[in-house]
């Protein structure tokens, strides 16, 4: 490998230690810390260590202090002083517990040092409470957080009573030994089963391990609303009423029946005529029989009359009964729903200056 190639490899390796938030340097007010940042950018690590330590002896904001320790952590990582790097990163996460490093942008050494630092400090991180809405007693508020060490963790909701958390209750959500990612569900109910009063709460997660303790909090707002009632059904999805009459197919049946009835009268007349009186007049039968035959012929040509479809009538009756039964259930459900409370929970932004204890 040529010398030039080696220098390029070293540059690439060192570029891996570049702090991911270089833009923060612009927000840094402290001059010493700015110089430390410049020295880090110029890969002058010895100078970074001395300048960062000097900056830490000066008055710094929390963010600047965290930034100074982060520069130290990256620099010690680059100098292979892993223990010092871990110590520096410990200070970073104690100041800013939510601090995360992007494994794609920092060197593996720095990232592993940061990870080791996280495991050596008791922290409650990434406390997340999602917006949710549910009927009291039929849902729960999801609460997620991460505990960096095995610890006794007590989760509480403090406040309520309508304003600011003052003068409210203190509701224990969970108490247990946890480590790593924790998922909790809070039904937001009192011991009596009633929903917690509406108001602003602070969910506090407190972890304790021996003498060490750490807590994180998230303000939330709980509001009460009425539960939506269900509309009555007019039909069942996928089921439709069927026509209760059906038109039979056109046939010669009407004319056939007219022939049958007229023929019956003719045969009866011919058969019952008295021999002594002779053949009776057929004029009357011709008039009425002819009318019957013409009517039968006309009815044959006409569209047949709709007739009741027994199966469809039965089906429709069953469907109506089913819908009526469902509507009765819906009416009962609505009576119950009118007595229920819709809980809506929204996380609030953390007040400025609030931080871990």
């Amino acid at each position: 490998m040529s010398r030039l190639t080696r220098h390029l490899c070293a540059l690439v390796l060192l570029a891996g230690f570049a702090p991911p938030a270089a833009g923060r340097a612009q927000a840094v007010q402290n001059a010493t810390l700015r110089r430390a940042q410049q020295a880090y950018d110029n890969l002058e690590y010895r100078q970074v260590v001395s300048l960062a330590r000097a900056a830490l002896r000066e008055r710094l904001t929390g963010a600047e202090r965290a930034r100074a320790y982060e520069l130290l952590g990256f620099t010690y990582g680059a100098l292979d002083s892993i223990l010092k790097a871990v110590d520096a990163f410990k200070q970073v996460v104690l100041i800013d517990p939510e601090r995360q490093l992007d494994p794609n942008r920092v060197s593996p050494k720095a990232y592993s040092a940061f990870d080791v630092a996280l495991r050596q400090v008791l922290l409650v991180r990434q406390l997340r409470i999602d917006s949710t809405s549910f009927v009291g007693g039929r849902g729960a508020v999801p609460i997620r957080f991460t505990v960096t060490q095995p610890a006794r963790v007590v989760t509480r909701a403090i406040g309520g009573g309508g304003g600011g958390g003052a003068g409210g209750g203190n509701y224990v959500i969970d108490s247990g030994a946890w480590n790593g990612q924790v998922n909790l569900s809070w039904p937001a109910r009192l011991a009596s089963g009633d929903p917690v009063p509406a108001g602003n709460y602070t969910v506090v997660v407190e972890a304790r391990l021996g003498q060490n303790a750490f807590s994180a909090s998230q303000p939330i707002r709980v509001s009460h609303g009425s539960v939506d009632t269900l509309p009555s059904l007019t039909s069942l999805p996928g089921y439709q009423y069927l026509p209760e009459t059906e038109v039979p197919p056109q046939s010669w049946r009407p004319l056939g029946l007219a022939f049958l009835y007229t023929g019956g009268a003719l045969v009866g007349t011919l058969g019952l005529e008295s021999s002594s009186l002779g053949s009776s007049s057929k004029r009357e039968l011709a008039v009425v029989g002819g009318a019957a035959l013409v009517t039968g012929f006309v009815m044959t040509l006409r569209k047949p009359a709709p007739r009741p479809a027994a199966a469809n009538i039965l089906y429709n009756r069953l469907l109506r009964d089913q819908i009526a039964r469902r509507n009765q259930d819906i009416a009962k459900e609505n009576v119950a729903r009118r007595q229920q409370v819709q809980l809506t929970l929204v996380p609030l932004p953390k007040p400025s200056g609030a931080g871990p204890r």
Binding site: Y261, G268, T269, S276, L277, E284, V287, A291
Partner: protein
């Protein structure tokens, strides 16, 4: 109050009350053609007349009544010299046994004027009828009645007397119906004039009624 006025009043009252009670009532006039034979083939009459019919139905029970007044004249080649006027009243009460058949009972009474120009007859009807709706609003009917215990103005008796009928009812428009009816009546009357022995004095009549009816 005259009989006509009373009849009109009764009709109006019935027409208003019937639908409310679930009773289907029809009433209307009829034109009638008739042929009449008696005793021998030479004694035959033909004529026409007018009448009226009314029917009512309540569920499976139905009733029907018809009154016609006929002027019968001697037919061509008849031995009769004078015609006569006949008034015939028919009445039935029926009960449906099925959607196409019912049993029925009723009376028939036919009177002749002048009284002795033809036999006046009275009898009880017992029989059955079949009816079928052959199309929207069109019904055909066939009936066969036995005429029991017939009575004649000239005396005598009849062991075998039947009455066959063919009927047609077509709804023309709305409540207006067209009706047609055919009746063949054969009465095997026997008499014993002067105690000389029974002789046949049969009576045979065919009647065609054509009319309209209004459903109330």
């Amino acid at each position: 109050m005259s009989r006509a006025a009373a009849g009109v009043a009764l009709f109006v009252l019935a027409s208003r009350a019937a639908p409310a009670q679930g009773v289907a009532v029809t009433v209307g006039p009829q034109f009638v053609l008739a042929s009449y034979r008696e005793v021998a083939s030479g004694l035959r009459y033909q004529g026409s007349g007018f009448g009226g019919a009314a029917s009512a139905r309540y569920r499976k029970l139905s009733a029907e009544v018809g009154v016609v007044r006929l002027t019968l004249d001697p037919a061509t080649g008849s031995a009769a010299t004078n015609g006569f006027t006949a008034t015939e009243v028919d009445a039935w009460v029926a009960y449906d046994l099925a959607t196409y058949a019912s049993v029925e009972a009723g009376v028939i009474r036919r009177t002749a004027d002048p009284e002795f120009d033809a036999q006046s007859v009275g009898a009880v009807r017992i029989g059955a009828r079949s009816f079928y709706e052959i199309g929207p609003g069109a019904t055909v009917l066939f009936r066969a009645n036995y005429l029991a215990a017939p009575k004649f103005s000239g005396g005598g008796h009849a062991r075998f007397s039947v009455d066959l009928g063919l009927g047609l009812d077509v709804r023309l428009a709305g409540r207006l119906h067209g009706t047609a009816g055919y009746t063949f009546q054969r009465i095997s009357r026997k008499t014993n004039p002067g105690g000389t022995g029974e002789i046949d004095a049969a009576i045979q009549e065919t009647v065609a009624r054509v009319g309209i009816a209004l459903a109330l």
